[in-house]
């Protein structure tokens, strides 16, 4: 496995654009499950937020990042979309992933127009799982699999962090420090996800199912809580 390489400098700036929380792809309305975790008393302070984000990083985050990396490395996005379905038992989370995927595709087609993006929108007008779109988007922006993984993982932890600041009135400095403390773990998981994504894309070129061997790390509480949140009255976030 070749070591994940840094993107060329111009692409690094593109990564900042893609991973920016203000990138207009709908993320601001989603809490990454934090709203339900706060409601259930599982996140009450910065320490709880950090533990929550660490759990998400190593489970749903790793799984998403590997899908994004595989898509960026050129694996068939439609087969990856099936692989993402099989990794998402919660119908609420499948619907959220497809809705966000569609919104991301819209923003990306404006930012980095590419035939691959147009083809994806045409093939699946109801949306593709967001991490898969993120991988194709990274590719269109001239980024590599490890960048796609970074973007997916950063979103996996920054979404709940921003939401918790709003929900708990958590000190934003403390919240940002949580993200900074997670950075080494994020680097580590991104490298693993990128390596797995690269292998999956290589498998796909031999005709094998690119999704079969990708990481499928799951967090049962995230799945259960997502279903609770979906039927919750008076919620602020869409997921």
């Amino acid at each position: 496995m070749p070591p994940p390489s840094l993107p060329p400098p111009a692409a690094r700036a593109a990564l900042l654009v893609l991973a920016d929380g203000r990138f207009p792809a709908g993320g601001h309305a989603h809490s990454g499950g934090a709203e339900q975790a706060v409601a259930a008393g599982r996140i009450t302070d910065a320490a709880g937020l950090e533990a929550y984000c660490r759990g998400r990083l190593h489970t749903a985050g790793l799984t998403s990042a590997a899908l994004a990396a595989a898509a960026c490395a050129g694996a068939d996005p439609l087969r990856l979309d099936e692989a993402a379905d099989a990794r998402t038992p919660s119908p609420a989370l499948r619907a959220t992933a497809r809705r966000l995927g569609r919104q991301l595709l819209r923003a990306t087609r404006a930012a980095w127009p590419a035939a691959e993006l147009d083809a994806l929108a045409e093939a699946r007008p109801r949306g593709v799982h967001q991490p898969v779109v993120l991988g194709v988007a990274a590719r269109a922006a001239g980024l590599g699999p490890v960048d796609a993984a970074h973007a997916a993982l950063y979103e996996a932890v920054s979404g709940p962090t921003t939401a918790t600041v709003r929900l708990l009135g958590l000190d934003p400095f403390e919240a940002t420090a949580v993200l900074a403390r997670l950075a080494p773990a994020l680097e580590d998981v991104a490298a693993r996800a990128a390596a797995a994504g690269g292998r999956a894309a290589a498998d796909g070129r031999t005709g094998a199912d690119p999704g079969e061997l990708l990481p499928a790390a799951s967090a049962p509480l995230l799945d259960i809580a997502a279903e609770e949140h979906a039927v919750r009255a008076g919620r602020l976030f869409a997921s």
């Binding site: 203000r22 990138f23 207009p24 792809a25 709908g26 993320g27 601001h28 309305a29 989603h30 809490s31 809705r99 569609r102 919104q103 991301l104 819209r106 923003a107 939401a163 709003r166 929900l167 009255a233 008076g234 919620r235 602020l236 976030f237 869409a238």
Partner: protein
């Protein structure tokens, strides 16, 4: 006006008022088909909490659903509350009302990241279109919230006299830039000591020639000034 003859085919009422029997839920008549060849006019409704945005949407739908093909996107602070109000009121068939969730930041969803709202508008056009008008109602927010031009072709800003008669003087992007400023609840002015003439003067100073209407939605036909403005905008949109 139409008389309710027994045995009259329901199509008879397509372009007339919905027939309400006492006790029966309101049943909106089938909407007329929109003029083909143009996407719907997208109308943003913004304004502070409680100023009457949802009531304006409901009144516009009741008044105009016979002559225009309408749909509504709500942006709720708490999920679906406004959408559910509109559904309960029966102002439009349920498939013409969509709720967008905003993650505690309603202004973000109509200005900085409009992706969810644009998707919702396009979905409505795809599923119940062609449409003449899509009303996009923002979640109640502050005086700085305005719609992105990427989402709304025209926007109106709803304030009310009870919120203080100095709001037009204070200005802010909503008051100064909206295509129509609606000052609602004029019936309350005597009770809250608001000076309507002063509000009109201040609004003109802030907005120049851009129109201002005073409404009292609590009164029969109170929404007519807004509806008249909307008809003009639809006509202009069709010929543009």
């Amino acid at each position: 006006m139409h008389l309710d003859h027994p045995g009259t085919p329901p199509q008879r009422y397509t372009y007339g008022p919905a027939t309400h029997r006492p006790g029966a839920p309101p049943t909106p008549a089938p909407a007329p088909a929109a003029a083909p060849g143009r996407r719907a006019l997208r109308v943003g409704l913004g304004g502070p909490v409680g100023s009457g945005k949802t009531a304006t949407v409901a009144a516009l739908c009741r008044l105009l659903h016979d002559e225009l093909s309408l749909a509504v996107v709500t942006n709720d602070i708490y999920t679906r509350e406004d959408a559910e109000f509109l559904l309960r009121e029966g102002v439009l068939p349920p498939e013409r009302i969509t709720a967008v969730e905003t993650g505690a930041c309603p202004h973000t969803a109509i200005r900085d990241d409009i992706s969810a709202n644009v998707e919702a508008v396009e979905d409505l056009e795809a599923t119940v279109g062609p449409l003449d008008v899509v009303l996009v109602e923002s979640g109640g927010d502050n005086l700085t919230a305005t719609f992105s031009r990427g989402l709304a072709d025209v926007q109106l800003f709803v304030i009310d006299v009870a919120g203080g008669d100095d709001i037009p003087r204070k200005g802010g992007p909503g008051v100064t830039t909206a295509d129509l400023l609606v000052v609602n609840k004029t019936d309350l002015a005597p009770y809250v000591g608001s000076d309507l003439a002063r509000m009109a003067r201040d609004a003109r100073a802030q907005r120049g020639e851009k129109p201002v209407v005073f409404t009292s939605l609590a009164r029969e036909g109170g929404v007519r000034p807004v509806a008249d403005w909307l008809r003009e905008r639809v006509a202009a949109w069709r010929t543009a």
